[in-house]
Every structure is written in C-alpha cells, then in structure tokens.
Subunit: 702 residues, 2 copies
C-alpha cells in the first residue's frame, strides 16, 4: 500500500471511518461494509446470524478514466433512518410502508486526485438495496463502463430457479437446480428463440431466486434500471460467487455515464419464509415516487383480444400470403386476402360485443396494420408505420362501435425490434391512438434489434423503453411492453407502465408447452420486478382443437387458469381464450368476470417456489376478496384460511376447484363450482389436481 | 462450366445475347458489356479509341443468399435512347440536357433457380453511369450485402487527386500523386480528425479525379446514393484496378436490401478537356426528377454569420466554462458567463444590420443554444435539444428584429453525431424554426456517430441524412448539411438540399491552413456530386489578427476569395469574415454583394485540376455575368474572353485583381479594382498572384 494511502487508512481508523455496520429495523438482517486489502470496498449480509452474502467486493471497471475498484478510503459515513408510507396508483395493496436504515459511505481514491464516489446502502426488514453514486465534481464527469464488478458471494451451493444469462431474451423455461449444476444444464436450457445472445456457460438472469439448504430464501435483482445497462450475473461455480455482468453495446462498451449519475439499486431480498419474498415491496420502495401530476387516466385494464387464434395458428396476423411487402408501395387493396386474417372489422366487433356483455374494459387487436407478411426474421428497418390498417380493418367504424358499447380499443405496436423506425413514427402512432379510441398499447420487440449490434437489454434500449413510456404519458396512454427489459419497479415512477411480458408467457403453451411448475416459479422470479401480462384464462388447453397441426397443450387445468388471475399480479389482465370457448364454460368464466385487477390488500397465504402458491387479495374499494391457489405437477390439498376478513361478518364464497379426476394433461377441463357461507374463522380444504388450482370469490352475503 | 450453363451460353450466342456494345451519342465513348469465364459480368470503356476502363468485373457478394458474382447468362438486352431537357430549381444553368444511349441487360443465374438481376448502363457524351437492379420476383426478396465487387480497371498509373478512403471524414487535404505513390503517401495523408476510420493502405474516396499520361481526364463517383452504403474505392496498386469498398455497419454488414431495389449509379466521367469535366451534368442527369409539388419556397441564400470568430478562437460557442452540463438540469441563468460568447442578442443584431445594409438574405448564428460546454469528444447522447437558447440569446426579439429588416435567421443544428437524439427532437426543432423566422438550417455531425459502431457514411446514416432533408421539406426548410456523406446529385430530387460541406472547407484555413491549390482541385472532386458550402470571403487572412494564439493563415489572396464565389458553385454562399473587416474593404466587398448564387448559364473558360480554373456565369433572370479565376501557388496570367455575351451589346466590367506585388503568404490583401467597357469581342489579360485570383462583374452599361 502506498504511503499516502497508509496515512489515510490510519486516520480513518482513528476517526472510526473503517468498517461500518447496519441493522434492519427488526434487527434480523445485519450488514457490514468495510475496505479490504488495498482499499477494495466490500460488504456482507447475514440474516438471523446466518451468512447470506459473505465478504463480497464492490466496484466498477472503466474504459477511459481510472477504474473505481480499489485504493479507496472512507472519507465519510452517514447513517439515517426512514419510515414513510405511500400509495401506489395501482398495486397489490393500497398503502406500502417504506422503512429502512441507510448507510451512505463516501469513498475517496487518493491515487486519483480529488475524485470520490458514494455507495448508498438501505437495509429493510425484507432485504438490502445498494447503489453506486457519482456526484457532480470537478474531476469526474464523463466515463465509460467496461464492466461492473459487484459480487454476491453466496454462502453455499443453493437451490436456484434460474434462466440462462442472455442479452436478448428471457423466454427460456426456468431451470431448477443447485448452482453447481448450472454448467451441466446450460446447453439444454438454451432453447431456440427469435433473438438470443448468451454470454457465459454459467451466466444467469435476474431476478434470481434461491433457497439455501437451511431453508433461507434469497432473491437477487435490481431496482430502478434507468439510463444504465441491464445486469445479469456470472456464477463462479467453484466458490459460488456471483458477479454482475452488464449488457454490452454494439462496440462492447457497457455504459456511458456523466456525473452526477448513479447505478440502479442492486437488491437482495431475504427471509426464512417464502411468503415474505412474494410480499416484499423492497424493489418498489427503492424506486422514485411518481412525478406525474395527473394520474387519473391510469386505470386497471381487463381485456380480451384477437390474438390467441393467431398464436395457435388458427388465423394469421398477415392479410395476404405475399413473401415481401413494401409499406406505401404495396397496394394491399389489389392483393388476394388469404382468408385467415383475424383482424377484420366484423370479427373484431364480435370481440367488442363479448367484452361489453362481460364487463371487459378493452379489446386488443393484433394484425390490424399493414406489414405482417414479412415482419419477422428479415432485419427489416421500415417494417411497420403503426397507422395504416389493412383493407378489412375499419379503424373509424370500430372506434364508433366500441365507443357505443363503452369499450376501449387496445392498440398493438409490434416493432419487430426496429427501434429507430418505431421512434420515428411514435408521435403519429400515439396521436392515431388517441384519435381512434385507443388508450392502451401492447408493444413488442420480437427479433434482433435494429440498430444492428445493439441488444434488447443494453443501455441503448433501456433508454428507448423509457422514452416510449414517458412519451405515452404525454398522450395519456398506458403501456404493456413485451420483449422489453424485465421490469425493476419503474411502475412506481412511471405508473402508466402497467405491465410487461419479458418472460416466458402463455403463448409458449402453444409453442410446445410450459412446465407445470412454471407459474409457481414466476412470482418468485420475473414478477419480483413488476407485473406480468401473462395472458391466462385458457380454457381449451389442447391447441389442436383450434389448429389440428399444433399438438401443444397448456400444462395446467382450467381452474389453475382461473387462479392465475390472483397469483400472477398485474393491473392489466387478459382473458386470452376465444369467446366461443368461454361460451361453453360460462359458469367457470364467471370468476374471470368477477376478479379484480387492482387491490387494497394482499395476503400471501402459503408459498413454495416451484411447488405451490396461495394468495388472497381484497379488491380495491370493494368488500370483495379473491383467492387463488396453484400447484405444480403434484396434486395437493390446500387449506385456505380467511382470517383477513372483517370479524363477525358473513360472506358468500364461490369455490372453483379441480374435479376429482382432473389433471393438467389428461383431464384439464374437469371442475366443480360450489358456494359456501364463510366468515373469518372458516377454513376450507381444496384438492388441487396435478397442474391444478383453486379459485375463490368472496362477496358479502346480500 | 456446368452443363446447364454451357447450354445457356450456346443459346445466348446463337440468339446474339453475348457481348453488347453501346456508343455515346457523339460516338466518342464506346462501351462493351460481356460475360467472361464462368459467367462473370464485365464491361469496358474507351474514349476516342483510347482505353479508359479495361475489362472490369461487376457483381455483388452477399452474406445470406447466393452471391451475384458469376454463373450469369444474358437473358435479355435492350437498347434505348433518351433525349430530354429539364430545368433545375436552382443550378449552374437554367436548362440541362439529358441525352444518353442506354443498355439494359437482364442476367439470369441458372444455378440459382428463377433468379435474375439487371444492370442498366447509360452512356452520355460526357461519360458512363451504371447501376445494379434487383427486380421484384419470387426468388429474391431480402438480402444482405457483404461487399460490392465493382471494378474499374484503369489503363495506367494515372495522376490522381485523392483523399484517403475513410468511413467517417472527408476533411483531409487532397494528395496529388500517381496512383503508384498512394501507398507510400497514405500515412502522412491521414491527419487527425474528430472522427475517422481508414480501411486500407490504398483506400480512396470518391469523387476521384485522375489524369492519364496522355491527357485524358477521368472522374469516378456515384449518383443517387439512397438507402445504400457509401462507396469508397480500394486500389490494387500492382495492376491499377480499383474496386468498390462499401461502408460497414456496426456488425460489419454493408447493406440491407429488399427487392425491388437498386444500387446507386456508378459514374465515370471522361474527356480530353478538363473544362468538360467541370461542365458535366451526368450525375444530376442520373438522379430522379423532383417529386415536390411546390418548390417556390426554395431560393438561393447569401448569408453572413456568427461563426468565423469562433472558428478562429476569438469567441466561443459556449456560454460559460463548465466542463460538464446536463440539459434541463443545469440552470444556465445561475452560471457565470465566460464573457466570450458571441451568440448574444446585441451582437447578432449587428450582423442583422450588416446583412440588411448589404443585401444578404440571412444570418447564421452558431452557439445560440444550451449544450456547447461539453458537446464534443464525450460521446454524449442527449447533447442538444435544438430549441433552448442560452440566457443571452433572445429568440423572439431576434425574430422580430430580423423580420423588421427583411432578413431571415439561419438555424444551426450541430448534432455532435448523436443521431437518435437529433431525430427525437427533429419535429420540435423544425417547428421551432418556422415559429421563429428561420427557413434554412446548417446541420453538423462532428464526432463519432451515436449509435456507436455506425459510421458517417454507412447505410444507417445515409438513410438519416435523407430523412432530415425530406422532413425539412414538410416544414419548407432548406438544408445545408456539414460532415454528412458527400453529395451524389440528390439535390435534383430533393432541391431543398441546398448544399453540403462534406469536405475540407474554409475552417481548415484556421486549423493550420489549406494548400494553395486546394480550391483548384475541389471542383474536380468534391463538387462533382453537388454544391459545397465552402464559406469563402475571408479578407483578413492572418488568423492572429483575431486570436493572437492562432498563427494559421488563409492560403489565398483576398481577390482569390472573391473569385471563389464563382468557381465554387453553391446556391448557398456565405460571406464568412467579420463585418468589421469587410468595413475596411468595402470596395472589394462590392463583388460579394453583387455576385449571384443562381445561374442561367455557365461557361468553363479554362481549367486544369490542381492548377487553375476560370469560369463565367450569367446570373439567373439578369443581364449580368460574373467571372472568377483562381490559381494555385504559381502566379499566372489569365486571358478572360467574353464570347458568351450578346453580340453588339456593351457592358461595364469591374475587374478585381491581385496587386502587382500580391501573394497569398506575403501580401494577400493587395488588390486593384478597375472598370472597363467591354463587349463580346473583348479579351482581358489579368495577372494572378501566387495563390491569387481575379473576379469580374459584368453589367449592362446604363
């Protein structure tokens, strides 16, 4: 160590600016920050005296200025506490408590004259969040990140629920294995996708859910990903140390920052109860409050849509069978329609009728606009213009018709990854929406990104996704972005971001199927960062019923699909199946009609990642509760309790349950519906089939 | 050769579809197309029986479909002729004749089922143009270009006037040497630039001007560069074959095409008279006519501006001395102005006064907007917003003031190469212009391109430059784009593209100086594709007079600067020096006040690339002529003739000439002005100093 550094370290010791310790408000979590050999910042975390994160390094490697890796001294350390509550615009509960103890360390680097950074640590009862900060200062302005070097030194070979680390897709099936098995299972896990870029034989995505051998649940993710590259994790499977691995741009750089700036928060949620993980609001709490002055136009959306029939292959997005079209050149009115184009005026009106009859807010229509004949796999720049309908889709008539039925149209903006094209058309596209009765949009980024060389999760696209959201707010438009970077709690700051897909959703049931435990994992992984537009509600689980050539099937029972409306939180929910199928099961469909999408309260009754989840939620501003319970391929009996109901009050519960012989693969459509009078003391045992579920609506007895 | 191909070739011979020959209308140029070994398309060109292009291959190598290189047969060949005249909106002459013989060959590739391309050759009296065409067809739609393989097999080790091939800059000094010397001179030629990417030790830019040992002038360039990558040339200096070398994108691909599509025209202009090269309209003739319905808003622009004082270092673009600013965050009103910010209301009003008093159309102001403190070299994404002025620049007041004096404001959009940022702001920026009295914009792309990895001359940016021009037309805005791809005659199709810089301009006189022969070369190179905003008119050639720390000087006499208004054609011309300097030379300045920027007729009196140029032009719709004559470092006597004047009519000529002891380096400001009565029979001998010139205005005698 050089002489100057030695003196500083001595001084720091004398002044007490050496190791810093922090506890969570309930004291279960203990955190320590210190500088190790050569002034390397490190931290560690324990829960109820058990190690969660062993001594782990922090730092950032830069390309063009001296790196932020070592040679630090603690020049200041401030501890504060914070305890406030806030109300989300839409959410799982009406009020969220934000209660943490914070440590803000200022680190000088004597070898780099007059330069310093800060690291801010917030310790909540449910976990830790920390971020790097680069304050405005004379000797630091612009710098380029080569790699972030944040470590998470795990305490053991945990069981993990993981996705292969990738710069372009999250649509892999989750693999459940010990960390030591990741390397051997990686190859099989990387199934084909429209756009994919793995980076390491032991690379992992976040949110990463783990369970230690001694029953501790640990979830690693990030919060408030703004103007930075998305973080993946690279596992060292000899010592189980995870290290941050950012997404590169076209030339290999991993971030361009200008002080004052900060990284996103790196989050570690911990508990010995799996239900606490699902109940955690840590990620939302780390995000900034919203600056939107008016949020009255942001509302939950339950919708149906012209979509599943294309996913199953029954219909097409495309209007005709041309192999190649040029917008503004191809005269669609002169081409021969293929006879399978679902997005036609008459058919959409049927969906509007269905929505109106059943209390749905909106109708999504995919395939309404010119360009679907060659939209995919051609790296096509000018692929859509977002405003020109096919000849058989009458925008104005559908606007009139939907409005007459008090139904909104939901827009679809598939960008095909052609992002400059989308931005060029965005204002016109949003204006077109407002002029024609659309107040929400499902956007998509299928395929490799254009500009070529950029990745879905790099800083360039992270910037774009937020640009699309904030511009949408100017038009009072709500956004549901598919194939975008997975969320990190930004829906607190930008509440018109209703949901994302950004994971393997229901469509994959038609592309070969999802594992029966898929939906018992997703709330512990993908949904930790924000709501998911999972688009459940498939009642006809055999796809061949719609398209004989497609032998896929949905790996859950019909009732499991009902339960998902409760277990997969989203303020934007689709009843994804075809109206003619729902027509055959209107008694079961009643649950979907009734269930809310916005909540006053949420109680995680029981949960085990990969096995089962049972959740109860109170509808916002209503005296109604909805319970959803799901299981994996193992049948089970769920005991549903109602202690959260007001005492002494009676309710009618309608219980939707798997039939006695139901199973996801052999008998998915078998179900029973029974009514019961209940109160807060009632316990109801429900049998869940293999891949099954249970759904309960609770309303006051009239 | 395979059997199928042999049969086809035999058939083709029988049917006469083998070699194809074409002559220019005046028969001086002879062209031949044929298929060589293995069905490789080749062409050759001769002029007055002397070889210009020896047998040269044509073709395109692709990445994802079978290449277009060999195995061709001629399935059709059609010869036609065309002879029409058209009027440019603004130009060097009122009417342009478009007269050529055309050969259109259709080439099938039997090894690739049912696929064909076309090559279209047009042979004019002044040269050849040809392009590849990819018609709409079943078996060809999308393809990716790996490299274009167009050869130009030169007939000898010509003298060449060349720039190092580069994907990002044209601002090198032209090197004059034999082709065999290119390799040895390359290193010294590649001087530092804000953004530069060479690709070969013998790479060359176009337009490429050459002179053979037997006195033939040959110019190679391209016309109508639209939705394609810019072409450079790679010289094989063992056999003097040039081959096309396209500009790659961030991942190394060289173009994304979708049939129907075409390449730009590859152009070869030929004559034994250098004056014919300058008089050639071949490149404009190959461009499409304009589709703009209304062109009444497109007019020539003579302007002055707040610019040269910053280029010389006398003043700054920036308002204060902060090292780092963030738009919308930095409160400029609270920062300390540096006292050298030229773009302030009072100072700009002085320029408006000067413009009004001297008949100038517009005043350019650079440095008017927030962001100049850290605009350069930081790879800054959100670098300018194009609408927020500095605290000392009153947009509305200057609008009012300029309008009251019948002067337009000229906008400045420096993009700093941050192209997504420019596109995001473009509509607001153009609207801001129209709302505030600006109808023309100088745009700039200084520094490396963002999205990172793209190049100034790749297809991505070629698309962007045209996007900026066509969107400007929606607002009736004229565009002068600096650092953009060098022009290729698109100002015929998009006449609001008034000019580009896209070469080493006058500013480099302040950055170390230009060679004294620089302006005797540029019309043979850079200006072949379109007008150049050279910004001449520097009367104070010693920069130290403005900034004692800058010892650069302009390598021409004052009178040479006057002549440039005639020899450097542009409908947009700046009087670039400071008003207070012009005030000391108002008699010489009179020429700049008088000279037109739009012409009925142009006569190239004499010219030799690198040595001298003398041009006479008739002002549009006026009975006035302007003559400009320039020389390199060699003094010379120019004999100016007036045979183009109407016979029997008398005119007054005002002759601006170098003083007897003038020279560009020792005595640049020495000049004489004399008046003469002349008619069409007059001959005037003028002595041009070293780096000197002569300028003559001719008006009817009153």
């Amino acid at each position: 160590m050089n002489k100057l550094l030695t003196i500083f370290m001595l001084l720091s010791t004398v002044l007490g600016l050496q190791a810093q310790e922090l506890s969570s408000p309930d004291k279960n979590l203990k955190f320590k920050f210190s500088l190790q050999d050569n002034g390397v910042p490190t931290y560690e975390l324990s829960y109820k005296n058990k190690p969660i994160i062993k001594s782990s390094k922090l730092g950032i490697e830069t390309k063009d200025v001296p790196s932020f890796l070592n040679g630090f001294v603690i020049s200041n350390a401030v501890q504060t506490s914070f305890d406030e509550s806030w109300n989300p615009v839409l959410g799982e509960q009406k009020t969220i408590r934000n209660h943490y103890n914070e440590l803000l360390v200022t680190l000088a680097q004597p070898s780099v004259k007059d330069r310093y950074i800060r690291i801010r640590f917030r310790l909540f009862d449910d976990g830790l969040g920390f971020r790097y900060e680069f304050p405005e200062q004379k000797n630091l302005s612009y710098f380029i990140i080569k790699e972030e070097k944040t470590q998470f030194a795990l305490a053991g070979d945990h069981k993990a629920f993981w996705l292969p680390g990738d710069f372009d897709t999250q649509e892999y099936s989750t693999v459940t294995s010990n960390l030591s098995e990741v390397r051997g299972k990686m190859k099989a896990a990387v199934t084909p996708n429209a756009s994919q870029t793995t980076f390491s034989p032991t690379g992992l995505q976040t949110p990463l859910m783990m369970k230690s051998k001694d029953g501790l649940y640990i979830n690693i993710h990030e919060a408030a990903l703004v103007d930075y590259s998305c973080m993946s994790l690279n596992l060292n499977d000899s010592n189980f140390v995870l290290e941050s691995f950012l997404t590169p741009d076209a030339i290999g750089d991993k971030g361009y920052l200008q002080a004052p700036a900060q990284s996103p928060w790196r989050t570690i949620i911990v508990s010995d109860k799996a239900t606490d993980i699902l109940a955690s609001k840590l990620i939302l709490n780390l995000n900034e409050p919203t600056k939107y002055a008016d949020v009255s136009w942001i509302k939950p959306v339950k919708y149906v849509g012209v979509w599943w029939e294309m996913i199953t292959g029954k219909s097409t997005w495309a209007y005709n069978d041309l192999e190649s079209v040029q917008l503004g050149v191809t005269d669609y009115s002169k081409t021969k329609p293929n006879g399978k184009h679902a997005a036609n005026t008459q058919h959409v009106k049927e969906y509007i009728d269905f929505a109106a009859a059943n209390g749905f807010d909106a109708v999504l229509v995919e395939g309404w606009n010119e360009g679907w004949e060659d939209w995919f796999g051609k790296t096509k720049d000018y692929v859509f213009d977002f405003i020109t309908p096919y000849p058989d889709f009458d925008v104005q008539e559908l606007h009139r018709y939907a409005a007459s039925k008090n139904v909104k149209m939901m827009m679809h903006h598939e960008t095909s990854g052609s992002v400059r094209n989308y931005e060029r058309h965005m204002d016109d596209a949003y204006k077109f929406m407002i002029d024609n009765g659309y107040n929400s949009v499902k956007s998509g980024y299928v395929g490799n990104i254009i500009p070529r060389g950029e990745h879905h999760y790099g800083q360039w696209l992270v910037n774009h996704y937020l640009y699309a959201i904030t511009k949408a707010a100017d038009y009072k438009i709500m956004v549901n972005a598919h194939e975008a970077v997975r969320p990190t709690g930004l829906n607190r700051t930008y509440p018109n971001l209703l949901a994302n897909e950004s994971a393997r959703g229901t469509e994959y049931e038609s592309f070969g199927g999802n594992n029966p435990d898929h939906t018992t994992i997703l709330p512990f992984t993908r949904l930790m960062g924000g709501p998911m537009d999972y688009t459940p509600g498939i009642f006809q689980t055999k796809i061949s019923a719609y398209n004989p050539e497609n032998t896929s099937f949905v790996h859950s029972t019909l009732v499991h699909q009902l339960a998902l409306y409760v277990t997969m939180y989203s303020p934007l929910q689709m009843a994804a199946d075809l109206p003619e199928t729902y027509a055959k099961f209107m008694d079961a469909f009643q649950f979907i009609k009734d269930v809310a999408a916005d909540w006053d309260e949420t109680v995680i009754l029981e949960a085990e990642p990969g096995d089962y989840i049972s959740i109860a939620r109170k509808a916002k501003n209503k005296d109604e509760w909805y319970i959803g319970s799901i299981t994996d391929e193992n049948p089970r009996t769920a005991t549903i309790t109602f202690e959260y109901l007001p005492k002494g009050k009676n309710y009618e519960a309608v219980i939707y349950a798997d039939g006695k012989t139901a199973s996801y693969d052999k008998n998915p459509q078998s179900y029973t519906i029974r009514k019961m009078k209940i109160n807060s003391k009632t316990k109801v045992k429900v049998n869940l089939a293999s891949g099954g579920g249970a759904a309960i609506s609770v309303k006051p007895i009239k």
